[in-house]
Every structure is written in structure tokens, then in C-alpha cells.
């Protein structure tokens, strides 16, 4: 593969037929740092955070009311006879708060946001930068199989990741950890310090135990910063979780609880002092005497600056661009760039671009379903896709957006994606994309444009011999050089 093809396909999201091949691939990549738009036109239709939080708050409030009503009705007060029949008769979807909430948040939020993400990827002139957005969204993964996250997942990417893409890792980290999607997904919003004001009141009343939740603290250390088995202990996780108490979201709780939280009701980050565990914390031998929100902020800043974090991030970046088993020399190089610059992301990206390992002529990566779909749609010049069809396509290919199922995100190795049935699905989708593109797209002409200098003789022959333009296009999209980058 020529450097041009590598820049377009391995670093970028795949060439479009109309793209001018970059004369200087490396400076084409670095030029995207300043050209990148955190909020491109493609994201214009994304629902506001306050709207999404409002839907969620309505649902939570409704659930709470229903729960209370049910508890009051329990002791023998259920009218005999009529009720079960009524319940069986016709479940009114409007009356069922869960179904109402799901319909709203899936249709209005999730589908719209996925389309916006896809549209941004299909229309961007800065595909390397957009690829980095997807990389970080997967690094800081939230998953919509947790219902309240359905409408929030996209916002994490749009509001926390995009604006900090070319800043410092520490700022990116803070923005992500204070975003409602992350606070809700990893249960931080409900974590209560046992000795906080609320914690003591709850303990006194002997009410339902609502205490410390370690989920976010652990995943920050294990997944977002240091990496697993890098020297922190269970005690460190617990201490971090204590420091994080009070970090929550405004506008989620209504009624009495909301007054402890403060802030507005728009879903912005809120520090609730009444939930915060008082006292100083000790993490990996370091004392954090700060009070309030500043305490966890200080810990986050130290985690961002930790060399283990530098290595963890560098390893993942190297794996994404230079192969499933990232070359040790490259990981070292990126780590040094990270440490020397204090986690300045453009410096790390530059070290990445300057790494010869990422420019190896042979394909280094098997495209994930997302990468493959985006590159295929870009190759045929499609700039948007029906929201339902987009979700159906990614579901069918096995990578529904923002639904990796765990905070670890999707795997970034071929073994997870290069599977028999998955390959068959790509062929099906390729045929559908090609059929939609119609005979107006000539695969013979675009092959050279989207894979400059990288089309094998076998693929060229297969396309030329295809029995229809559509079949030729489908073959290009599933060719060995197109399913890899």
C-alpha cells in the first residue's frame, strides 16, 4: 500500500471517490488537528442534554410513584376478579412508563444521535480526527444496554470527547468522568458516602442501605487511566470511590432529594456536598487533603499524569494503528511523548504519525464493522442513511453503536471481528449498499480512487468480470484490501 492509501484508509475513515489524494500524507493528517470541528453541521439535530435528562427524570419519577402506589395497594386491597382480566386485555403503551420512555429515548435520542455520528463520519474532510473521536468513545465506553444511558451515550461523545480531542488527556478525562452518561452508567450518581450528611441520616433511620458504589472509581483506574494490574490495590479503589462521592447529575432526582444536589435541572454535573464522604484520602501512598469536588479532581489529575496511564493509552493507540500486537518500540515512543508533554494529545498523535510501524505497506488491521460500514458508504459517496436502516445495519454486522455491553468497550483485534458469519453479513450488506448505489457508481473507476495503488490484480479482475456494475461494487467492498486497513 502506498502512503497515500495508508493515510486515507488506515488513519482516515476510507476515501471518497471525489477526494484528492493527499500529496503529503503526514501533513494532511497533522493539518486536521486545527481543521477539526467539534460541532460540525452533521450534529445540528442532536437533542439537547436537558431534553434527554428531562425524559429520564420523568421516567424515574413515574417509576417511583408507581412503586409507592404498588406498595400501598399490596395488602389485600387488590379488587378480585376484574383486575387481572383488565391487565390482560390491552396493555396501553402510553400508560406503561417503561415503554413510553424506551420509545422516546430510542427514537428521538439514540437513533438521531447514531445518524448524526454516522453523518459526521461520512461527510467529514478530517477523517483522521473523526477516527480519533471513535477511538476515544470506545476507550471511555458506555453501553446503552443500561436503559438510562440510551439517550446519553451519544452526548458523552459529542459533549465531552469532541471538544477535548486535541487538548490534554487530563482535560478529556475530567470532562468524561463528569459527564452524566458516565456518572449514570457507572452508578456514580447514586453513590453515597457512609459518613456524609445523607449517609448518616439514612443510617439513623435504618432505611434501605444506600452507600458507597465503587464502580466508577474502579473503571477509571482499570480502564480509563492506569490499566489493569498496574500497582493499585482494592484499598486504593475504595478510597477513590470515597473521594468521588458527591459527583452526580443535576435534574435527575425530583422532589426532596433534588435539594441536596443543587445546580440546575438540566443534567449538568453537580457536586452534592451532602453525599460526599468527609475526610482526607490516601491513594497509592499519596495523601489528598482537599475538600469537596476538588479532592477527586486532584486524584484524576494525578492518574492522568501517571506513567502507567501514558503506557496504557499509548498501547491502545499503537494497537489501533500499527496492529493487534502493538510494536514495543512504538509503544515506548508514544509513552515518552505522552510523559514529556504532560499528556498533550496532539504531541502523542504526532509521535503516532511519525512512527514508521504505522506505515507498514501490508494491511495491519481487520476493519471493525463500524469502520467497514463507514468506509463502504464513503466509497460509494453516500452521505447519509435512514436512521432505522443505519441501526439495523450495525446490529446485523455485530457492532451496534454505543452498545459494547461493558465499560471495556469493543475489542480492537481481528480475532473479535474476523468470523465466518460476520464475513457473510458483510457480503450481504455490501450487496445492499451496491444495489442502492445503483449502476451510477462504476467500481472499476472508484477502486483506484478509494484504494490508490492498493488494488490487487485479483480484485481488479474480479470487478471487471462481475456480471453487473452492482456486483462489481459489492466485490470491491468485500475485497481483501477493503475489509482490512
Amino acid at each position: 500500500m502506498l502512503d497515500t492509501a495508508i493515510a486515507l484508509n488506515r488513519f482516515g475513515l476510507g476515501a471518497r471517490p471525489g477526494d484528492t489524494p493527499p500529496a503529503d500524507p503526514k501533513s494532511w493528517l497533522t493539518a486536521q488537528f486545527s481543521r477539526f470541528q467539534p460541532r460540525p453541521q452533521a450534529l445540528a439535530q442532536v437533542p439537547a442534554r436537558s431534553t434527554v435528562i428531562g425524559q429520564l427524570a420523568d421516567y424515574i419519577a413515574q417509576q417511583r410513584m408507581d412503586g409507592r402506589a404498588k406498595r400501598q395497594m399490596q395488602p389485600a386491597s387488590l379488587p378480585t376478579g376484574a383486575a387481572p382480566a383488565q391487565a390482560d386485555a390491552k396493555p396501553d403503551p402510553q400508560a406503561d412508563p417503561l415503554r413510553r420512555f424506551l420509545r422516546q429515548t430510542i427514537r428521538e435520542d439514540y437513533l438521531t444521535m447514531n445518524s448524526a455520528r454516522l453523518s459526521a463520519a461520512l461527510t467529514t474532510d478530517n477523517p483522521f480526527a473523526e477516527r480519533l473521536v471513535h477511538f476515544w468513545a470506545n476507550h471511555f465506553a458506555v453501553s446503552v444496554d443500561k436503559l438510562p444511558v440510551i439517550g446519553l451515550a451519544g452526548l458523552l461523545e459529542f459533549e465531552a470527547i469532541r471538544p477535548h480531542l486535541f487538548g490534554r488527556f487530563s482535560d478529556l478525562l475530567l470532562a468524561v468522568e463528569q459527564h452524566p452518561a458516565m456518572l449514570v452508567y457507572l452508578d456514580q450518581a447514586q453513590s453515597v458516602g457512609p459518613n456524609s450528611r445523607i449517609g448518616r441520616i439514612v443510617a439513623m433511620r435504618g432505611g434501605k442501605q444506600r452507600g458507597l458504589n465503587e464502580n466508577l472509581g474502579r473503571e477509571i483506574m482499570e480502564l480509563h487511566t492506569l490499566g489493569v494490574r498496574t500497582g493499585y490495590s482494592q484499598a486504593d479503589v475504595t478510597e477513590f470511590a470515597r473521594a468521588l462521592t458527591g459527583w452526580t447529575v443535576s435534574g435527575l432526582a425530583r422532589g426532596p432529594a433534588s435539594r441536596f444536589i443543587g445546580g440546575g435541572d438540566d443534567g449538568s454535573f453537580a457536586f452534592a456536598d451532602a453525599l460526599h464522604e468527609p475526610g482526607e484520602r490516601v491513594i497509592m501512598g499519596k495523601r489528598y487533603p482537599q475538600q469537596g469536588e476538588a479532592q477527586a479532581r486532584a486524584i484524576l489529575a494525578d492518574l492522568a499524569a501517571n506513567p502507567a496511564t501514558a503506557r496504557h493509552i499509548s498501547t491502545k493507540l499503537a494497537r489501533h494503528f500499527a496492529g493487534d500486537d502493538p510494536p514495543a518500540a512504538m509503544v515506548d515512543r508514544l509513552t515518552r511523548a505522552y510523559v514529556a508533554s504532560g499528556g498533550d494529545l496532539p504531541t502523542v498523535y504526532r509521535a503516532l504519525i511519525d512512527s514508521p510501524e504505522a506505515w507498514a505497506a501490508q494491511p495491519l488491521k481487520f476493519k471493525t464493522p463500524w469502520e467497514w460500514s463507514v468506509s463502504a458508504l464513503r466509497a460509494v459517496g453516500q452521505t447519509q442513511i435512514d436512521p432505522q436502516a443505519a441501526i439495523a445495519m450495525l446490529n446485523q454486522l455485530g457492532q451496534p453503536t454505543w452498545k459494547p455491553g461493558s465499560p471495556a468497550g469493543w475489542d480492537d483485534i481481528a480475532a473479535s471481528w474476523a468470523a465466518p458469519e460476520a464475513l457473510m453479513r458483510r457480503v450481504e450488506i455490501a450487496q445492499r449498499i451496491a444495489s442502492k448505489a445503483g449502476s451510477s457508481v462504476d467500481a472499476r473507476a472508484i477502486a483506484q480512487k478509494v484504494l490508490p495503488g492498493a488494488v490487487s490484480d485479483a480484485t481488479r479482475t474480479a470487478i471487471a468480470r462481475a456480471e453487473s456494475p452492482q456486483e462489481g461494487l459489492a466485490l470491491l467492498l468485500v475485497s481483501p484490501e477493503f475489509v482490512r486497513r
Binding site: 474476523a418 464475513l423 444495489s435 445503483g438 474480479a462 456480471e467 456486483e471 475489509v483
Partner: protein, 381 residues
């Protein structure tokens, strides 16, 4: 395998008919249906309707067209492939007519370019920007030439200034067998992909995921027939079939392709009911295949092939051919069946007779680059 179906509906004919020259529309009848079935990939006319009476046939295709031994004899010269059983019945009922050694003006051997010529009606590829089926709408006595395509996209033959709306069936057909085979060939040298692909195909076959040929086409054609039948039905439809590019394993693959095509024809016949009597179906391909088999049990890209005219409206029960012969000297460039009848002229002639429009007008409108004239002998009853 059938991938897409396209429909044109033509309603509200009366008003427009008044403004048209009466003579030209003496036989204009909007109850007439027309279905164009394209065989993408170059169908081998010599295997579909074998010239078994030609003394050179046996030697040329010895051991290759064994299926024809069980075929239907049409007179003393031709034998119809046995997979076309329902089509053979139509022939017996004078509702099927075959035209052999027919070809579009295109003389090279690229599928893309050949299909473009076949569908646009030009004399060379990419010369015309719209399709002859779309231009046909302009000739019909209709006030409302609303066209309906049953797919995501509109094929070249239907594209043009006459409006075409589309309807995509919810369940799209899976990848064609032909595409699956080409993918297999493409992955052959790639260790990783080759292994994955073999596994995928084996699993699918076990799970019955690959639909039996013949089932698919018939089911889709029933839907097509529903949309064509009755007073409010569509008047024109286009059905696309893929998978005719039989470079290898032709005997089995072609039989499956023909069973599928036969299923489509049968389903149209059944589904159209009384309207079948007013229906013309034309089946055509972009070009034919080599007269001699190649080294892999198949045939390569050639020139002349076979066209079929089917339906209750057809003056059938005959084979039309100006037979060029199979000697090396008689073959086009010493390898392919030589075209002796112009496909464009045939289509124009059939449509002129079907709709009762002056043949020269049809020829000029649908095939403006052609210097020939529409086929004049009786094709329509």
C-alpha cells in the same frame, strides 16, 4: 436469482389518448401489460435453446449440454432446456416465441457496457442517459405515466424523465449464489479470508440459509403479478435476474438459473389470471457466450444469444432465426454465435405490435441511434 423488480403503472389513459393522433393508437389498449426480464451476466442461448439439428452442434458441445437430451424438441432443429418446463407448455399453447442468434448493437464483451447498451437502447455504452423502457412510457396513451420500481434503485432501462417511484420489499433477497461464488474465488489466495469464508458457506448451507433456486424467483414474481393484475394494476414491469455468467460448472448452474426463470414465468402466468391474455413478456440478455465450452466446464463471453417473447398476447409456438451456423467460419470472430437478428429491432417490433403504435415511431423513440427498422413479421397475436 432474482434481485429486484420494477413496475411502471399507467392509469388515466383516456384523456391523453384524445390528444394523440388517432391512427397511431388505433390498437392502443391500456389493458396491455408488458414485462421486461433482463438476464444479467450473459445467458448462454446455445444451452437454453440448443440447435440440436445443426450437424456441428454435437461435436461443438459434446458432453457439455447433456441436459438437452431430456429437453423439449421444438420442431426438428431446436431443443428447449428441460428446466423450462412451464415455458415449454406455453410454447405448446402458442404463447411462447423464441428468437435465436439475436444481439444488441454492442459487439465487445464487457457486462457493464453490454448491459448499458441493452438498457439505454443506444448503439454504444454511456451514449444515452435514459432507458428505453422509460422512453416507452412517453409513447403510451396514458395521462398518468407514474412508474413504480420495486427496489432501492431504478435500473438503467427505467431511468429517465418519466417519473418513477419506488417500493422496496421489506425483505430483501440475500446475496446471489453468483456473488457468493465470486467472493469465494476472490478469497481463494487469502489464507485468513479463505478459511472464514468456507466455514461461513458451510454453516449457511447446513442451516438452509441459501435458498433453493426456483423458489425465490417464483415467490417474487407472484408479488409482481399481484401488482400487475386487475384494472388498477401496473402496466409495465421490469424484473432483473442475475447469475447468468457461467464461466464454470455451467450445466448445474444454468439448470438452476432456468428453473428460477421458469418459476418467474409460471408465477406471472398464474398470478395475472385473465390479464395474461393481454401480456407480453420479453426475456433478453446483454450478450451470449462462446460456442465452444472453456476448460472449466463453462463458457466465456460471446455475442449472439436467445430472446424469448412470452404471454397470452404473443403469436407463439415458433422459433424465429436466421441461423448463422456453427462452423468456425460462420462464428463471429471464429468463436461466438454470429448475430443475425437485431435485438433492438425485435423489441421495437414486438412493442409496436403489442401497443398498436407505428413501428417506425417506436424504433426512433426507443432506439434513436439505430439505423435499422423495427422487426415486421408477426410477433403478437
Amino acid at each position: 436469482m432474482l434481485s429486484r423488480r420494477f413496475f411502471l403503472s399507467a392509469g388515466g389513459a383516456a384523456v391523453a389518448a384524445l390528444s394523440m393522433p388517432r391512427m397511431a393508437f388505433a390498437r392502443a389498449n391500456t389493458s396491455r401489460r408488458f414485462v421486461f426480464i433482463i438476464q444479467r451476466g450473459a445467458a448462454d442461448g446455445l444451452s437454453i435453446l440448443g440447435p440440436t439439428g445443426d450437424p456441428l452442434h454435437a461435436g461443438l458441445r459434446e458432453g457439455f449440454d447433456q441436459n438437452l437430451a431430456n429437453g423439449t424438441r421444438l420442431g426438428s432443429f431446436f431443443t428447449l432446456h428441460p428446466a423450462l418446463a412451464q415455458t415449454a407448455k406455453l410454447y405448446a399453447a402458442n404463447q411462447a416465441l423464441f428468437v435465436h442468434a439475436v444481439a444488441s448493437p454492442y459487439r465487445d464483451r464487457s457486462h457493464f457496457d453490454g448491459q448499458n447498451v441493452l438498457e439505454t437502447g443506444g448503439s454504444s455504452a454511456y451514449q444515452l442517459k435514459d432507458g428505453w423502457l422509460n422512453r416507452l412510457l412517453g409513447l403510451l396513451p396514458t395521462g398518468d405515466t407514474k412508474a413504480l420500481a420495486l427496489s432501492d434503485t431504478v435500473p438503467m432501462a427505467l431511468r429517465g424523465s418519466n417519473q418513477v417511484s419506488s417500493y422496496a420489499p421489506s425483505k430483501l433477497a440475500g446475496p446471489s449464489d453468483d456473488l457468493l461464488q465470486r467472493v469465494a474465488a476472490l478469497y481463494e489466495p487469502d489464507q485468513q479470508l479463505h478459511a472464514l469464508w468456507n466455514e461461513a458457506v458451510a454453516t449457511r448451507t447446513m442451516a438452509g440459509g441459501v435458498e433453493a433456486d426456483g423458489q425465490n424467483g417464483a415467490a417474487m414474481a407472484s408479488v409482481a403479478a399481484k401488482l400487475l393484475a386487475g384494472d388498477n394494476g401496473a402496466r409495465i414491469a421490469m424484473i432483473e435476474t442475475n447469475g447468468w455468467d457461467t464461466h464454470s460448472g455451467q450445466q448445474g448452474r444454468l439448470a438452476a438459473q432456468l428453473r428460477n426463470l421458469d418459476g418467474i414465468v409460471g408465477a406471472l402466468n398464474t398470478g395475472l389470471g385473465a390479464d395474461w391474455a393481454n401480456t407480453l413478456v420479453i426475456v433478453a440478455t446483454e450478450f451470449g457466450r462462446t460456442a465452444r465450452p472453456n476448460g472449466t466446464g463453462g463458457t466465456d463471453h460471446g455475442e449472439a444469444s436467445l430472446a424469448m417473447l412470452l404471454g397470452g398476447a404473443v403469436a407463439g409456438g415458433k422459433v424465429i432465426a436466421d441461423w448463422p451456423g456453427l462452423s468456425t467460419a460462420a462464428l463471429y470472430e471464429g468463436r461466438d454465435l454470429k448475430p443475425t437478428i437485431d435485438l433492438d429491432a425485435l423489441i421495437a417490433g414486438a412493442l409496436a405490435q403489442h401497443y398498436g403504435i407505428e413501428p417506425a415511431r417506436v424504433m426512433t423513440r426507443l432506439f434513436p441511434e439505430s439505423r435499422g427498422s423495427a422487426y415486421g413479421k408477426p410477433l403478437i397475436a
